[in-house]
């Protein structure tokens, strides 16, 4: 198959970017999108041109490194990661526009490579159970019903790719944050820090410059793990619960 690529090229953070037209010839329909780019790069290098920079690692849809916007859709047309998008999903001769994930909170580092460390900082704010290495209680002493485990797992499978942010018209990271809060706040281990977690993660989200949710639902539609927008509902509930809890304890202190 042959394709005409319009690729975003940008030399360094803050530099002015541009689209460059690059031909991709003789591509196997069973090649993944990134394998197509690998071949394009190999040829660009042999021609003495600059290879296209893009992030990828596991190439099996689980590490969350790949972060391309293909024809305006984060990851591409199939709601799977770019590494699991195959050229057979495109028409022979198609023009394909390739950009990095677009969001204010994800500055472009070069070409298609963006900086998503803002998501790590949201986790640092509270996306963990504050325990350290050492003897731990017997897991069966705190039984978890398979139903709760499955719901926690449905959220815990988030790969942290940031497609939800790139897809959101508001640039919100609420699906990402909601997934972590849902995962931990459903489980017995997450209970002691339940309120603090919701408050701190939401605060960090705001500080990083992510927008707020207005229920477009684009995040969930772009999520390669198909995480449900329900996690945002859960995040909102947890946040309100934490704020009410704070207000109540303040009243109590005043009364005392």
């Amino acid at each position: 198959m042959n394709f005409t690529l319009e690729v975003w090229r940008q030399d360094y953070p803050g530099a002015e970017g541009r689209f460059e037209t690059i031909e991709a010839r003789d591509i196997d329909p069973d090649a993944s999108f990134l394998e197509m780019l690998d071949q394009v790069n190999e040829r660009l290098i042999a021609e003495g041109r600059r290879a296209i920079a893009f992030d990828s690692d596991c190439r099996e849809g689980i590490c969350g490194a790949c972060s391309l916007t293909i024809d305006g859709l984060p990851h591409g047309p199939r709601q799977v990661t770019t590494c699991q998008t195959y050229m057979r999903d495109f028409r022979d001769g198609q023009r394909i526009r390739i950009e990095p994930f677009r969001s204010n909170a994800f500055p472009v580092l070069r070409d298609l490579v963006v900086d998503r460390s803002a998501l790590d900082r949201i986790i640092q704010a509270g996306g963990y159970v504050s325990t350290t290495t050492g003897p731990q209680p017997d897991p069966n002493a705190a039984p978890v019903s398979p139903d709760v485990q499955q719901r926690a797992m449905d959220a815990a499978i988030c790969i942290g790719c940031g497609a939800c942010v790139a897809a959101c018209p508001n640039g919100a990271a609420m699906l990402f944050t909601g997934a972590k809060v849902t995962h931990l706040n459903l489980l017995p281990q997450g209970q002691p820090e339940r309120e603090r977690r919701a408050l701190a993660m939401v605060r960090q989200m705001d500080e990083e410059g992510f927008g707020g949710c207005t229920n477009y639902g684009e995040c969930s539609r772009a999520c390669p793990q198909e995480i449900s927008i329900d996690v945002i509902g859960m995040l909102n509930r947890e946040y309100r619960r934490a704020v009410r809890g704070q207000a109540r304890s303040r009243e109590k202190m005043v009364a005392q």
Partner: protein, 638 residues
Amino acid sequence: MNGRLDAKIPEGPIEDKWRSWLDAHRLVGPRNRPAYTVIVVGTGLAGASAAASLAALGYKVKSFCFQDSARRAHSIAAQGGINAAKDLANEGDTVRRLFVDTMKGGDFRAREANVWRLAELSTNIVDQAVAQGVPFNREYGGQLATRSFGGVLVQRTFYSRGQTGQQLLLGAYSALQHQVAAGNATIYNRHEMLDLVLVDGQARGIIARNLVTGELERHAADAVVLASGGYTNVYYLSTNAMGSNVTAAWKAHRRGALMANPCFTQIHPTCIPQSGEYQSKLTLMSESLRNDGRVWVPRQPGDRRRPSDIPEHERYYFLEERYPSFGNLVPRDVASRAAKVVCDDGLGVGATGRGVYLDFRDAIAQRGRAEIQARYGNLFDMYRRITGDDPYTTPMMIYPAPHYAMGGLWVDYELQTTIPGCFAIGEANFSDHGANRLGASAMMQCLADGYFIVPHTVTNYLAQRLPRVTERDPAFDAVEREVRDRLRRLVSIGGRTAPQVFHRQLGNVMLDKCGMARSAEGLTQAISEIHAIRDEFWQDLRVDGSIDELNQSLEYAGRVADFLELAELMCLDALKRNESAGGHFREEYQTEDGEALRDDENFATVTAWEYGGERAMPVAHEEPLTFENVQLATRSYK
């Protein structure tokens, strides 16, 4: 190095060794710990768990990863599960059984004391992970669920759907983020370790390249822990991530750390076959599928019928027939070789004839589609996404692919390499899996090393009170200069060929001659072919761009250069080991029915190689292995 390798194994019965080591090891007081800096390279299960645990003790931890986030390390892709000798299924499982299974699975080429400790610590790991909020699968009553895995007869594998690695890694990653928030750890993402800095023979820091700016950075420390993963990307085709590489370990090797059993690599039986030569990354299908899937090929060579049209009596269930007691659950090396043999005999399926079926027809008939979906749904979806075929109605097609390195940096009982202050953990070391690793053991080893062993052995090392070293030490000047010179050399060759081309050539040689079957003749030939590729590489490489910017071709070229050196050592090691053991199958040494033939008289040893210098012969050192707690036996899964 005076020929003798001291593994520093504590005296006493095997059950007491780790306890007695802990009893006697030196400590550093809590108030003194912040004065020590520990570098941890890699943020996979081993690296993240070590960094989090060391930081929680109070050391100043600097954690490095080349990826954009610590959460992306390739442990994330481990699917099946993690072993623990908890005996929750009431099968009479014990630490000793897990120990024996691992020794036997490794074809008796692992160190007893290390393996025992691993089995012993396995029970703590699941508890640690649950405490972090890892959502393991549960039974109806809320108890932890288990399943069985290849090479064993008990159900001791704990799992989170088919994404156990992801969940365990996110647990370790979140523990590390917690330490970042607490101010004890700093993560240097998009940084690649390009050399180890020694002062007075001790590891005192690293040179790392900031992959965004290209800047070379000096990081001084009191100890360096390498958790940089395995090297099977040397085969080009592998299940590893694109970025997985040997560079950090190889640099330590060049600075004096011995490399042990480099020829011991694992070719995993259940991978999706390659679709074209542009593809280097192969996707693994979890071994857990062999619990319910039956492996077969048509009995008739060149049978082109659809699998569903081939009647039962014309199907050759080669694992079940050759190994009736373990059947489809034989260990990986055995399953892979058996698949190779039937394909060599012309029975293979698929366009290339390098494939075998993994069929769920009978399991679906017996247990129902819903049950199979509950167990493997995400794996089936993944298979369908990649191949376009539906495994519920047509069998999967699989073929073995390089997956894991049992070999790696030589370490003693304290997981310290032959360079004082340089530790190696997880897949980067050689320690626990002998000549073949059993399923669900890699994560167990990574987390045992990272959570429960290395924090103590590093403490023991730091307690000797080292002199202070800073980044201004002249040793950093010298190493940084060498690193810069090499980077400049890579970008200035000015040839015509991209690094991936050399990588592919190297991989073809390695897969063909140092893969599932090896021979003295083939290995000798491979070495001269590797030399030729290496010469070509240094004459005709083209790297676009410069060294002081984000430059992925430069990163790749540096890694390929190191693979080219490692590959030769793997072949030398395979050539020296005149026996077949586990994943190392020398065609000259096999039984009449084609099983691996060990030579315990001469090769019950670890071969640890000392770097000999640029294009010079490395020096082999031997660590004899003793077997006091497990009986040496021919491995039989029949």
